[in-house]
């Protein structure tokens, strides 16, 4: 069991990692021939990684977002995150897993072979990056389920404080079906379109963050700004909760990134240290820029930098080095800062919690940056023949496909939901706040 992986093997692993589910369909067949080993250390690690991603959703993301809205809309945000996650978990079991990883060999989806998790038992195993090393398929299903559950919840930040609760639920159900499951298949399945162009996406930069960011932008544009946007005080009702949420997101993100390695080995620890250093670099960069440009470093800046860095390192975590990660994080953070504080102000849309500005922009910087910092010349794990130029082109293609698929899909779905249910609550309800008007509750009493 002593390790002797060469750098060359490492980059191959990473490439394999991008489509780590490749092996599942063939497992039953392959099982006849090779010995499959399930290591309890891997199982222990992947269980905790799965739990960590749930922790990111409730209470992590819920608090990060919730703290940023006004008191009167707090519960609506918590509710949306919770309900979307629960709904997508049920959908995942019913047909989502099958659409993404059902064993079908189409370029766009995995077929319906595993609806209702047909045929999966506690003995079913799923392949990892390493030949012959497997983990229980239930565990793989659960781990991937948490990714599917968090992604639509990320989007809600774009139209917080004004969307109808029924609309957000219907949109999310449609969106995971039309956008998320196909893109997950395209990126991570061996038969998937984007996988086959050779894109690197270790832990879901395209599938999760760019996807969510683009849908958020479309949503913000189509739903329109909040009443009083740009005039009324709309400062975060609790920066404390936002920091708590951001901290939980950081903690949980190790499940995301180091968990995407599927095994508890040196590769996972590389993803882990990168998830530390990229984030640290990004925090310092955002706060540093503010200190220089505004004279004051803000806590929301530090938290925003934190998330930018985490987003950017997501696709890169398994293939870059820890010093490269500091630089990648810092760059992504700077770009997001510039976008959120300068560019956004020039346009007239209200992406209330900057989902596009941080997840979309940060995700794109991360995807491109992965093509750069994986280079061994920059301390990355790429092989000797790694070419930054050609990998960047591939990464850009992956981004392009995701953006187009997601933008069109999301626009159609928002329109559809608008026709069926209407997207916005009425003016009185928005003034009163969604907590009371949509849920009949208030967040705080004395």
């Amino acid at each position: 069991m002593s390790r002797n992986t060469s750098q060359r093997k490492m980059i191959m692993r990473v490439l394999a990692g991008a489509g780590f589910l490749a092996g599942i369909a063939s497992v039953p067949a392959a099982a006849q021939e090779t010995v499959q080993v399930m290591d309890k250390g891997d199982v222990a690690w992947m269980m905790i990684a799965t739990i960590l991603v749930l922790f990111m959703i409730v209470p992590g993301l819920a608090l990060f977002y919730g703290g940023l809205v006004r008191t009167k809309n707090m519960l609506s945000v918590l509710m949306q995150c919770t309900m979307i996650a629960a709904m997508v978990m049920v959908i995942w079991v019913v047909y989502g897993y099958s659409m993404a990883f059902g064993g079908g060999t189409g370029a766009y989806w995995g077929g319906l072979g595993k609806v209702f998790l047909a045929g999966v038992t506690p003995d079913s195993m799923a392949a990892t990056f390493t030949d012959g090393v497997v983990i229980p398929e239930y565990l793989f299903i659960a781990f991937q389920m948490t990714f599917a559950a968090i992604t639509p919840a990320l989007i809600v930040g774009a139209f917080a404080e004004r969307i109808k609760f029924s609309a957000v639920m219907l949109f999310s159900a449609l969106w995971v079906t039309v956008v998320y499951f196909p893109v997950a298949h395209m990126v991570w399945d061996a038969s998937g379109l984007i996988f086959n162009i050779g894109a690197l996406d270790f832990a879901g930069g395209t599938v999760v963050h760019i996807n969510a960011g683009i849908a958020a932008l479309i949503g913000a544009l189509m739903i329109g700004p909040r009443i009083g946007y740009g005039r009324d005080m709309m400062a975060p009702h609790s920066m404390t909760l936002t920091l708590v949420g951001a901290g939980i997101l950081w903690v949980g993100w190790f499940g995301f990134n180091a968990g995407s390695n599927l095994e508890a080995n040196g590769g996972a620890t590389l993803a882990m240290i990168n998830t530390f250093t990229a984030t640290a670099g990004a925090i310092l960069a955002w706060a540093g820029l503010e200190a220089v440009l505004r004279g004051k470093a803000s806590m929301l800046g530090a938290a925003s930098g934190m998330i930018s860095g985490l987003v950017a390192v997501t696709p890169a975590a398994g293939s870059i080095g820890p010093v490269g990660a500091i630089v990648l994080g810092a760059i992504a953070s700077g770009v997001c800062y510039y976008f959120v504080a300068v560019v956004k102000a020039r346009f007239d849309y209200d992406d209330s919690l900057d989902v596009f500005g941080i997840h979309g922009i940060g995700g794109i910087v991360g995807a491109i940056g992965t093509g750069i910092f994986t280079s061994p010349a920059l301390g990355g794990m790429g092989g000797e023949d790694f070419s930054i130029a050609s990998q960047v082109v591939i990464q850009a293609k992956a981004v392009g496909i995701t953006v187009i698929w997601c933008a069109i899909g999301s626009a159609v779905l928002f329109k559809l939901v608008d026709l069926v249910l209407g997207l916005r609550v009425d003016v009185e309800a928005e003034r009163l706040g969604l907590d009371v008007s949509s849920h009949g509750e208030s967040a705080y009493h004395s």
């Binding site: 005039r231 009371v436 509750e441 208030s442």
Partner: protein, 112 residues
């Protein structure tokens, strides 16, 4: 001098403040109150327990003004705070006998 107390809708505060400074008001105090009036509240349910919230959030604005400015102040608030929806608020005018600015010791209208 007059002491004017007004109940207004919370989101009208900035407009009220601007209107008042425009006509020469140089100070005020604002506090959050629970208002009771013709505007009805709402119901909240927590599991089985139902609570009628009879009070509506309002802001109370208090302004000490020179005699001469009192009517303008009332007019200004009235114009800006009005939405023609129930619950727009009320304005009350009391007589103010004396005023004093702590920092300078100025009294009377000079203190306002």
């Amino acid at each position: 001098m007059k002491y004017i107390i007004a109940a207004i809708k919370p989101y009208k505060l900035d407009e009220v403040r601007d209107a008042l400074t425009a006509i020469g008001v140089r100070g005020m105090m604002v506090s959050e109150v629970k208002g009771f009036g013709s505007q009805s509240g709402h119901t909240e349910i927590y599991r089985g327990a139902e609570y009628a919230v009879n009070f509506v959030p309002k802001l109370k604005v208090e302004i000490a003004v020179p005699e001469a400015l009192a009517d303008d102040v009332v007019d200004a608030i009235r114009k800006v705070a009005k939405t023609n929806k129930i619950g727009d608020g009320k304005i009350f005018v009391l007589d103010l006998q004396e005023a004093l600015r702590v920092r300078t010791g100025e009294t009377g209208e000079d203190a306002l």
